[in-house]
């Protein structure tokens, strides 16, 4: 199924935002401006964008250690995003979480997660809240192919099926779990596994945002109308190392070339071109995205160091009284 211009352009723009934001982060990391670890999703942009395009504002997503795409596609505040990753008080998490814990609850982004598989039961609980509170919302659990080995996936497939929860299991299958390839990590096909629990599963080309979006739209509607959990497995490619700085010695040139041969931006760019969108319109769009990013970076750089006393006082929700420690 193909989208029309008005539909595809914003998705393209969202993918450009993720790509450029992460390229920018990569440079900032290289310059020592990003503390800690940094996991980039370059090459995988069509997955979060295609899925989040199928969501409404009230819908919720739980993310992974590779969560920038999910965050940006769900619409987190861009300034707060950069400020967080640079460790600033103005960050979404006031500098306490960093890249691996970016969250923006206002837009239903329940947080990146440092624990592989950690987002699955959180998303399930969020789906339960949608169901019990009759919000009409759905919840999405993003997880990688490596996460499929964690027992919590099994528990969540089972419980989501038993309780017919409005939950989308969104697998980003990029073929790698850190430095190990999928076939040495997981013996099952996710689809067959889901089917065993009575959960419908589809596979899509995760480099084609239109394909992702149209499947996501379909299954989100199914989940939303109360017909239970759904699985969407997106075949995608990790272009960069597991983390920035990873020399990727374990990866051969062919695998990397394969990865780069399916560029979600190129796939959708070609479609836009075929629709007759002039190249300079695209370029203008890209420039605008880049400008937003530079503004966000500049503002993050000007941000304050996080306030230690405020952090120390915020281990528990601040209500009257109560010292801890």
């Amino acid at each position: 199924m193909h989208l029309n211009q008005q539909q595809l352009l914003p998705l393209y723009e969202a993918m450009v935002l993720i790509r450029r934001a992460e390229e920018r982060l990569s440079r900032l990391f290289g310059d020592g401006e990003v503390p800690g670890f940094l996991h980039l999703s370059i090459g995988q942009e069509a997955v979060p964008v295609g899925i989040c395009a199928a969501l409404q504002a009230m819908d919720t997503v739980a993310s992974t250690h590779r969560g920038h795409g999910h965050a940006l596609a769900k619409g987190v505040n861009l300034d707060g995003f950069f400020a967080e990753i640079l460790g600033r008080e103005e960050g979404l998490c006031r500098g306490r979480g960093g890249s691996i814990h970016v969250a923006d609850l206002r837009v239903g982004m329940l947080g990146a997660n440092g624990i592989v598989g950690g987002g699955l039961p959180i998303a399930l609980g969020s789906a339960l809240a949608h169901q019990v509170r009759r919000t009409g919302g759905v919840s999405v659990a993003f997880f990688g192919d490596g996460a499929m080995a964690e027992g919590v996936l099994h528990e969540c497939l089972n419980l989501a099926s038993l309780w017919k929860l409005p939950l989308i299991f969104a697998c980003e299958n990029n073929g790698w779990s850190e430095f190990s390839p999928l076939d040495r990590q997981f013996a099952a096909q996710l689809g067959a596994l889901g089917n065993a629990f009575g959960i419908p599963a589809v596979q899509v080309d995760g480099s084609d945002v239109e394909a992702v979006c149209s499947e996501a739209t379909r299954i989100v509607a199914v989940a939303r109308r109360g017909d239970g959990p759904q699985i969407l497995e997106c075949k995608t490619f990790r272009w960069r190392g597991h983390y920035e700085g990873d020399p990727q010695k374990y990866r051969d040139a062919g695998d990397l070339a394969d990865a780069r041969s399916r560029d979600p931006l190129a796939v959708s760019g070609a479609r836009l071109e075929a629709m007759g969108i002039p190249a300079d319109r695209i370029r203008t769009l890209e420039r605008a995205v880049e400008a937003r990013i530079e503004t966000a970076v500049a503002s993050a750089r000007l941000g304050r160091e996080p306030d230690y006393a405020a952090a120390a006082a915020d281990v528990y929700t601040q209500v009257a009284g109560g010292a801890h420690g």
């Binding site: 979404l92 998490c93 329940l110 699955l120 969020s126 789906a127 309780w163």
Partner: protein, 333 residues
Amino acid sequence: MAETRYGMAINRALADAMQADSSVVLFGEDVAAPGGPFAVTRGLLAKFGPERVRDTPISEATIAGAAVGAAMGGLKPVVEIMFMDFMTLAMDALVNQAAKAHFMFGGQCSVPMVVRTPHGGGLNAGPQHSQCLEAWFAHVPGLKVVVPSNPADAYALLRAAIADPDPVVFVENKTLYSAKGELAEVPQPVAIGDARIAQNGSDVTIVTYGASVAAALKSAASFAADGISVEVIDLRSIQPWDERAVLESVAKTRRLIVAHEAVTAFGVGAEIAARISELAFGELAAPVLRVGADFMPIPFARKLERACLPGEADITAAVRRSLDWKPNTRITP
């Protein structure tokens, strides 16, 4: 005032909280249709329906993790882990998610969830069904831990835990479920972090919680006959714990025993002893002594379990040691 069992006080707290707030939901293994492994949730399914009271499969990790997501999504989940020993399967959600979300997301959200779980021995349930692991949770910033010792506190602390914006590990005690106590028509609230003077005294202080409170009170009563006045503090909350109440008591008695059912080594008592030994160093007339389970897995056979778990006699012996302590007593290495 009416006499109520500890388990029923918890049942009433759950019912009252669910009545008062439609966002309170319960789930766990066998808590709905069967009414709970210890009958604590009996009747709640009938009262509040299958949407709010749910049986889960045997999936502790997901029970706890789902509570986190549900709490972030506007519910107030109260979940049950059938024995505290099985918390081993739910640690990630509690420690890495529930405890940290509020802080690590910069205060954007709270995680108002309660995990109810029974600890303790005395039923010859063996090494995997008898542990007291509350010290683990007290060591994790972001979690609160309470351990009520009687029906009134169980009611009030559970209401406080459910009302609390942060994740609370609510530790029950298997042998207390049938214990009776007064519970008022309109129960008194108790704030998490407030200890209770279970018995006033002036010669020595016993700080304790959970099922050990009864043993401490018995020990105190036995000393009263000898004209020795023992103060018993029921801590009620472990994290945060009421340092001020303990210091005030020690300022008076200058002698402190910390008693609990958990294994002594690296247990809750270590923190209390360390802290009071520091803060009241110049005031103490004897070292802070600890009473807890011996250092072994809780054994099955009656005789072994009895010998392993601390009781009134162990507390009494510690009180004696404290009272008899002479400044030149030195245990050499």
